[in-house]
Symmetry: C5
């Protein structure tokens, strides 16, 4: 999973029927220190998240698990709202 | 999911039988602000999208869900046409 | 899915038993304009493709769908041979 | 799978119900020589790992296998604590 | 699938129970011309590979297929040992 900040939402009238009623949020991935990285993406929400909150999200088919037995065609889903991240001794990441 | 613009389509006579009748579109991934990024790819369409429209698409096996019980071998599928993206306070993404 | 060109093939005597008889091709991913990008990879073929042809391929478990009920351990598969790509108005991709 | 070092943990009160009781750790991917690379991420732990330990983790739906028959929506999971890595003759990796 | 060279192995006493008895190898991805790229990773072996050999490996849940009906939590697996790669006319890859 990765940390992310909720930036906004997406409105889509024409969509796959199994997406009806799902909240589609625009999220920005974050590093452990809260800095942003990578591209904003669209995720479904199963944690009750709102704009401005820090969350963690899952990628892949796993994003559809909270909606079983429905299998909406989603590949990113917010599964928790973060209260705190404890990282006593961060390593420098390089890419 | 990611935002994308529909650029065109692909014609393929010789293909896996389960792909027969599916619409194959060339799409360009977009950032939340509408700028393009990354590589164009080929996606199946289950939302009735056309060239020039902004859509959101799903990656992975999830792209085949709208065609159940058929399981076409696809890894990218357009699942919604975007009416509007609301992002009140975008963060700068870096890579 | 992504466009690709078939570059060659791989010969492997010792391999997982479920791969026996499958054609393993080396392919190079292509952009919508036919230029190459990224790394060459090894894909199974279920479309009858040959060296030099332009194809589209699928990544992930989906690559094994054409071989059901066998589930060979593959993560890339050629699923169609491209006749034509129509992209009336390409956007500049950036990475 | 990839090698990683455990950096810390994440506290989240509001989350998908199937995540209740799972340990969520912040981990930093490592190269075979122990140097760090890429972004820190959040992983569930099924190996009893603690902060400072070197582990290996799995990405994707596979991360949920240790919790069967529950299918928590996770895409990264620590599945082993590393005692030793033997690499007699490393190749230079380039990206 | 991708080509790779086997660099070494990983010893882990504390691990998910379904990994017991599986051989965990450190592998370095290779281009079609035999040059290395990207990061070394840890893969399970179902082809009987040894240090120094050139192999091809699969990513994702597919890596667990050779161990059915057991579903070990693995995301990379060596599925064949390469005898020869034939690439008559390589395209220049760019990234």
């Amino acid at each position: 999973m990765q940390l992310a900040k909720v930036l906004g939402d997406v409105v889509a009238t024409h969509k796959d029927a199994s997406l009806t009623g799902l909240k589609l949020l625009v999220i920005q991935p974050l590093n452990a220190d809260g800095s942003s990285f990578g591209r904003a993406l669209v995720a479904v929400d199963s944690a009750g998240a709102g704009v401005g909150e820090t969350v963690f999200f899952v990628r892949g088919k796993e994003a559809s698990f909270p909606f079983h037995p429905t299998e909406p065609p989603v590949d990113a889903g917010i599964v928790g709202i973060v209260d705190q991240v404890h990282v006593p001794d961060p390593l420098p990441g390089n890419r």
